[in-house]
Every structure is written in C-alpha cells, then in structure tokens.
C-alpha cells in the first residue's frame, strides 16, 4: 500500500479522485442550499448521466453522444497540457477551437470541401492562432494568458461575422452540413453500429485516442519533447544548451493550436451541433479542457479518462430537476474541480510527508529494537 503510494502516477490518481469527490460534494451542498428536496436525486443524475435512461439501448445511444463530445474536449485538454508542459498556459485554446469551428464549417458549407480538407483547414486555423500567441510571447514578451483571452474574443466575433454568411435565413444557426454537403461529415467506418446506431460516433473517436498516445510519446520519448520541456523549465538554460528557445515556444503553441482546431472539426463535422452566429460568449469547450487537463494529472493518457469524466458530468447536468436547479450546476462542479486541482501539489507533498514520517518511525523502531537487543547481549 505504502509502496504503491510512492509511485507518482498513483499519487496523481489519488489526488484527482480527491478533487472529484470534493467537487461533487460541493456541488451537492450547493444543491442542498438551493432546495434540499431532490438535491440527492439531482446530483446522482449528474453522476449517472446516460444511465438515468432505463432502456439499455437508449443508454448506449446516449453514451455515444457523450463519447462524440468527449473527443473535442480531449483535443482541447491535450492542447492545454501540451503547452503547460512547456511552461505555457494556453487559455487561448478556447479561441483556437473557435477558429477551427469557423474554418471547418465555412469550408464545408461555402466551398463544399470534403471532410479531410475541412479537418486540415480547421487544424491550420487553430495553429495560426496559436502561432500568433507564440510569436507575441517569444518576441514581444506578451503574457500568453492575456493575449490568449484577447484572441478568444477576437475569434468569437470574427467567427460570428464570417459564419453569418452560411447561416440559415430564418435562424441564427449555420446550415446543416448533412443537407448542404454530406461529404464533409466525418465517416463512421462502422463504429456507429457498435454504439447503438449513433451516427455521431465517427472515426474521430479512434483518431483522438491515437493522437493522445502520439502526444504522450512525443512528450516522453522524443528529442523534440525533451527540448520543449527543457525550454519550459528554464528558458535560459535551454538557450545555453543550444536549443532555439523562441522557436520552441512558437512550435509548442502551433501544435497546441492545431490540436484545439482539430477538436472543433471533430465536433462540428459530425453534425452534432451547429454554430449560433449570435453567440455572446466563447464556447466552454476550451475552458473545460483546462479542467480535464489538470484532472488527468497533466498526462495525455490520464486526459482521456478525465475528459470523459468532465463531459460525462457536463452532459449529466441536463438531467437535474429543472424545477429547482439549472444545468449550469455541472459547470460549477467542473470549475470547483479546477480550483481544487490547484491544491494537488499540496496533497502530493502531504502524502510524501506522511510516507516519510511513517518510514522514519519504522527505522527508529528498528534501531531501538536493535540497541535493546545488543544491550540484552
């Protein structure tokens, strides 16, 4: 037990579980405050999400919906954790996601491109936005958080303006890709058959999982990953070691931006959602990505599970009793979880201290036992 707790991976897992439990507990307390009746039922519904449906078939189908939305979230969280490993807080992922949505939707609806070019275009759009943040950071010393936020709003208003050209006449939403240009929809490759005939389950699912593994390999096993991480931990040391630190910063944000852009294409090109051209706030996907990245212990593999969990409770929010509560309770829970992730370092240190203390005590005991033994001789 103690040996297992020494393992950093296990520690990260335990810390995440503590964050989740506390987050849900606080959510429950908030519900209790609003209305004690039905709080328990609502919080279990948030946790159960698609299990609230009684038929296994519907459950499976709803699971497919959650799965389809997990993939863009996973991409956003990969974007954030990748940048974070290089010492950059890519809060601009939300804007890069918006740029990706705008690019793939416009290419699909206005130009009639097929799915792969649309997807690549979305990646490029996100990467360009990431590059702007990177260049500003590397050459002008602009704090990436502030420039990222500014770009979030700029890209939101730009997307609203550009996508207004391909919107339906009567509604603020963009046209259906399925009607206008079915070739831009991501292929299902038979995966929909596996998951309750849910047409939103596409090749995005395996693709996203593969990318998570690739990112993990890049970060841990390649020279590039090593250089990027070195730049993150000490820019000057990296320069003296002969690494091009400015180039590395820009490259990191280009990759991070590309990931977020790809995430957008994985959602909008399934036809699950349409863009609302009168949106007045940046879509939450990029921000939820922060929660997923930190909850996953900043590991790409951990992010797969944490993304699913965050999306799971976000979707679960719609099953609360709307007579008293609002679905934003899940936003509240995930933001509490992000806040608690700030304490992860503290939790880990406490765990290590506890282990060290009990170890000390054991050694002390052994010593006293030995000396006692000697004295007896």
């Amino acid at each position: 037990m103690k040996k297992a707790l020494k393992n950093p991976g296990v520690q990260a897992f335990v810390a995440s579980i503590i964050c989740i439990i506390l987050g849900l507990l606080i959510g429950y307390i908030v519900l209790l405050f609003i209305n004690p009746q039905g709080a328990a039922e609502s919080i279990t519904n948030v946790i159960k999400n698609f299990f609230t449906w009684s038929k296994p078939k519907t459950q499976l189908k709803q699971f497919g919906n959650t799965l389809a939305k997990t993939m863009p979230l996973l991409m956003c969280s990969l974007s954030i954790l990748f940048a974070y490993k290089v010492g950059l807080f890519n809060i601009g992922a939300a804007g890069q996601y918006v740029a990706g949505s705008c690019a793939c939707l416009y290419a699909a609806l206005a130009w009639g491109w097929s799915w792969l070019p649309c997807m690549l275009f979305a990646i490029c759009a996100g990467a360009v936005l990431g590059a702007v943040v990177g260049i500003l950071k590397a050459y002008c010393n602009v704090n990436e958080v502030i420039s990222g936020i500014m770009l979030n709003w700029i890209s939101l208003y730009s997307a609203n303006t550009i996508l207004a050209k391909v919107k339906e006449v009567a509604s603020p939403y963009t046209m259906y890709i399925t009607d206008v240009n079915p070739s831009a929809i991501l292929p299902n490759a038979g995966l929909d058959k596996l998951i309750g005939n849910n047409k939103y389950v596409t090749i995005a699912v395996p693709l996203a999982l593969v990318i998570a593994i690739v990112i993990s390999i890049i970060l841990n096993k390649t020279k590039l990953g090593y250089e990027l991480k070195a730049t993150g931990s000490n820019k000057n040391a990296a320069r003296y070691a002969g690494m091009k630190e400015n180039q590395n910063i820009i490259l990191t944000l280009v990759i991070a931006g590309g990931l977020a852009g790809l995430g957008a294409s994985m959602l909008y090109q399934t036809g699950y959602m349409r863009w609302e051209c009168t949106q007045s706030s940046v879509p939450g996907m990029g921000f939820n990505g922060i929660a997923a990245a930190f909850l996953g212990g900043l590991s790409p593999i951990g992010a797969i599970f944490s993304s699913f969990f965050i999306q799971h409770i976000t979707d679960g929010g719609q099953y609360v009793n709307t007579n008293f509560y609002s679905s934003q309770i899940s936003d509240l829970i995930s933001s509490v979880i992000i806040y608690l992730c700030g304490f992860v370092l503290f939790i880990k240190i406490t765990m290590n201290n506890m282990i060290a203390k009990s170890e000390d005590r054991r050694i002390q005991k052994q010593k006293t036992a030995e000396t006692a033994g000697k004295e007896a001789d």
Binding site: I34, N141, T161, Y339
Partner: protein
C-alpha cells in the same frame, strides 16, 4: 459626441478600478488572473442589493450597493489568497478556476433565486431600473455616474498608498524581493493577503460599475466579456503605475465606448463595417499595445512565485 464621452468615462472607470486592483495584487507578488470572476461576483452582490433594498434615499442605496459589491469581491478573492499564498498553488490555474467558477456560481445562484420566486422563470437576469437611476445624475443630457468620481478617488488613494505610506512601500517590497522584505521583519504572507483582498474589493467595485454602465438588466450567464483581462492589459500598458493606468484606461475605454456609440457618428456609420468589428476593437487594440509595450515591462520581479520561507 456627448454619449461617446459618457461611455468612455464610465468604461474607463471600470477599467481603472479593476486595473488598480490587479496592480495592488501584483505589487504584493500575486498575479490575480481571477479578476474577471471577482468582477462577476462583485456585480452579483451589488445587483442583489439593488434588487432587494427598498430604500428611497439615493445616498443610502449607493453606499449599500458599493459595500455589498466590495464585500462580495473581498470574500471571493479570499479563495485566491488561500490557494496561492497559503497552499502555494499555481496562480494562473487558480485564477482561471475563479473566472469559470464566478460565472457558473452566479448563474446557478441567480437562476435558483428567480425560480424560487416564480417557478416559470428560468432566466439568469436581475433587473435594477429603479436603483440604477440613483447612481446617475443627469447634467444637460450627460449621465454622470458616481462611479466616475469613485474611480478618480481610487487612483489618488492608491497612488498615495503605494508611494507615500509605510504600508504601500512594504507591500511593493514583497512583490520585488520577498526574502529581503522578510529579513527586515515584514510578514510577507500578511502583505500578500492584504494585496489580494484589496484587489478583491476593487475588482468587486469594477464589476458593479460595469453592469451599471449601460443597461439596467443583467444576464449573469454572460459574465463580464473579458473585461477583467482587458483591465490586466491596461495595467501592463500602465506599467503598474496608478497614474499611467488611468491614462491607459481612458484609451481602452474610448475603444470600448465606440462599439456602443458608433451608430451615432455619420462618418463611422458610412464605413458600413459590421458591428462585430467595433466589438473586437478593444481586444485588437490591447493586443497591439501589449506587443509594443511588454518588451520593457516593469513588472514586479517576484510576481507569480509563491513565497516559501524556507527557499533561497
């Protein structure tokens, strides 16, 4: 034109209040990225007071609303203080969490409140037409808002406090070189707490000022549209100095005001640009300004680094 000046002044007041908050916090050594969330919570406190306080006296109302907003901001910023000062958490992460939490919590709370009063009402809006009038004095068509005066006073008070008082100088020492400050007997943790809490008060005031600026009904789902971050850009452009922050805020306020009033200018309306272009303006300007000014920034040296007594 008068309208443009009016909007410029009121939006500048918001930016001044919030940027001063950020400035104090950073001088004490804590980067307060949670200002956006603090604004939302401050606005919530003020809006609730406006909604439920029945007083007829304008003075009492203004005072109570200001106190409520400041108090809400203060309490909320304590979350940042606990995590970043006592538990040495990542300041960027916690700030971001506070931003998300601010909007989410305010939305959940206001919706629950509306629903409890009227079961069919699921909106996240609070309306305060009557109270807003008490904040405004009409001078020949120019709507003078008391917050404009408060912002001016805040600039003076903060400037005097930072550069002329023992407290302010000690506070700044904690942001520049906390170990040195500690060695002469200043309690760094206390000073940083003071910085964070003061920024919470100013952030809360900025929040209530923002929702009073142009409208008399506020939808809490929308948050404050990146204004907390604009204020941080103002602070950087103002090089962490209260006087310069005020000037920078005027510039940013002007661009923000344009998006409300461009229709009134024949020359601008004739350009026929989409309204979104004006909405983007403040953000674009701040990006350009940041790119030009960040290179030689005079940021407090120890900002963003949790203070640990044991480290060298």
């Amino acid at each position: 034109m008068l309208l443009l000046i009016q909007y410029t002044l009121i939006f500048s007041s918001v930016l001044i209040l919030v940027a001063l908050g950020g400035c104090i916090s950073e001088h004490s050594g804590v980067i307060n990225l949670g200002l956006e969330g603090i604004m939302v919570i401050g606005a919530l406190g003020g809006a609730l007071m406006m909604r439920f306080c029945q007083t007829e006296s304008a003075f009492v109302m203004v005072l109570l609303v200001i106190l409520a907003a400041a108090f809400f901001g203060l309490v909320y910023s304590a979350l940042l203080g606990v995590a970043c000062i006592n538990f040495k958490a990542d300041q960027t992460l916690v700030g971001t969490a506070l931003n998300l939490l601010g909007t989410a919590a305010a939305t959940v709370f206001v919706k629950a409140l509306n629903t409890s009063m009227n079961p069919d009402d699921h909106s996240s809006e609070i309306e305060y037409v009557r109270a807003r009038k008490m904040f405004i004095t009409n001078i020949n068509g120019f709507e003078f808002n008391w917050f404009m005066l408060i912002a001016v006073i805040a600039v003076i008070v903060v400037a005097v406090m930072l550069y002329r008082t023992k407290f302010g100088l000690r506070l700044m020492a904690c942001g520049e070189h906390p170990q040195a400050a500690d060695s002469v007997g200043i309690n760094v943790y206390k000073m940083r707490w003071a910085g964070v809490l003061l920024s919470g008060i100013l952030g809360g005031l900025g929040g209530i000022c923002y929702i009073l600026a142009g409208v008399s009904i506020w939808k809490f789902e929308n948050g404050v549209a990146g204004f907390g971050f604009l204020a941080l850009a103002v602070m950087i452009f103002g090089q962490w100095k209260p006087g310069r922050i005020a000037l920078a805020a005027l510039l940013f306020g002007l661009f923000r005001a344009l998006s409300n009033t461009y229709v009134g200018f024949p020359s601008l309306a004739a350009l026929n640009l989409p309204g979104n272009v004006y909405n983007m303006m403040p953000y674009i300007v701040s990006l350009i300004v940041l790119a030009l000014t960040s290179k030689n920034s005079r940021a407090p040296k120890a900002e963003g680094i949790p203070y640990d007594k044991g480290s060298r």
